[in-house]
């Protein structure tokens, strides 16, 4: 099993979730109101009210094959708007 961590602006959340749905991930979890810094941008809590939004952290536990399916779509969004995507190993507790 794989664990995919996606971090990007809340404003792209719908687009990213569509990619995940299209690849038929078994599920996903979204945590909003994350802030942070990447190579270029800095995202702070006090800007949330302006509509710029904070970051979303999306976690997906899924099989390796599904990762291959989402890869391209997600990359095209994140490379344009910013954001990171990392994969690690995980196994179900049972």
């Amino acid at each position: 099993m794989k664990r995919l961590d996606l971090i990007f602006s809340e404003r792209e959340l719908d687009a990213i979730l569509s990619c995940l749905e299209k690849a038929e991930v078994p599920g996903y979890t979204v945590m909003k109101h994350a802030t942070g810094r990447g190579p270029e941008r800095i995202v702070t809590e006090d800007m949330e009210f302006t509509g710029l939004g904070a970051n979303a952290h999306v976690i997906v536990f899924c099989e390796k094959e599904i990762l291959a399916k989402v890869k391209e779509d997600i990359q095209s969004i994140l490379s344009y708007y910013g954001g990171v995507a990392y994969v690690s190993e995980a196994i179900s507790l049972w």
């Binding site: 602006s9 404003r11 109101h33 270029e40 941008r41 800095i42 702070t44 809590e45 006090d46 800007m47 949330e48 009210f49 302006t50 509509g51 710029l52 939004g53 904070a54 095209s76 490379s79 344009y80 708007y81 910013g82």
Partner: protein, 331 residues
Amino acid sequence: MDTSLFLQNVLSPPVLFFFLGIVAVVLRSDLEIPAPLPKLFSLYLLLAIGFKGGIELQSSGFSGLVIPTVTAAILMSLVIPLICFLILRLKFDVFNSAAIAAAYGSISAVTFITAESFLESQNIHFDGFMVAALALMESPAIIVGLILVKLGAPKNRPNSKGMKWGSILHESMLNGSVYLLLGSLIIGFLTAAHNPAGVLKMQPFTGKLFYGAECFFLLDMGIVAAQRLPSLKKAGSFLIFFAILIPLINAFLGVLVAKQLGLEQGNALLFSVLCASASYLAVPAAMRMTVPEAKASYYISTTLGLTFPFNIVIGIPIYMGLVNQIIPSIN
């Protein structure tokens, strides 16, 4: 600048709370207003401004100066971004220039209401229909900004989703703040027309509470503005000059147009404040979405970190001074 005007502006609760927020950051106090509380106040203010504006628009009707003023306001929000764009292109690429220009063509509702409070404290009359001008100045500037990008950007913007007219209009008209302001305006209008009792029952919420909520929100805006200062320094001196000179120029243009329109002093001040102020709600959200190539820190730190405080604290009395010089008082 008339010192007494300046003092009267500065010694009002909204501006004092704004200072309190700035000083908190400067002294590194840990005072903070956690999300989403600023959003609550922001939504509330938009709803209340719109609702009250709708009521007054209904009572004033669309005769007299209403249509000319609103039309002129829309024109200003189309022209100002063009001027700004030309200036900004001296230093910045198309994307950043267009995004910043759009912000300055659009308006800041909180600057507007601070000017209203200022007029009230001076007992200078102004009309509710100015809120209609406010509501209608947000979208055109966004559209101009996006058109500038469409025209000026390299033909094959990599990864660009190929901005379509539909999505440009969508971003400009259906941005949450624009939508709430316009929607509340219409609701206020309809309520005033058909349900006078409803107007009365809304009054404690949209009317009485307004001034206090404005103070609370300005406390937060002070914190937010002061936190932008470091990234302002990074943005460089060109932008810093721009963020202070452009409001002055726009306000001056505004007063001239107001004179042509024949607005009285109060409305003239509001008109010039609309021209002078820059958006930190609708425009940044729209630009982030459609022009991610532009640096958010540029258009945010200039509008929020410099132009906004400048207008709130010094700009409003300066523009009032201008109005006093150029437009004769009726009394």
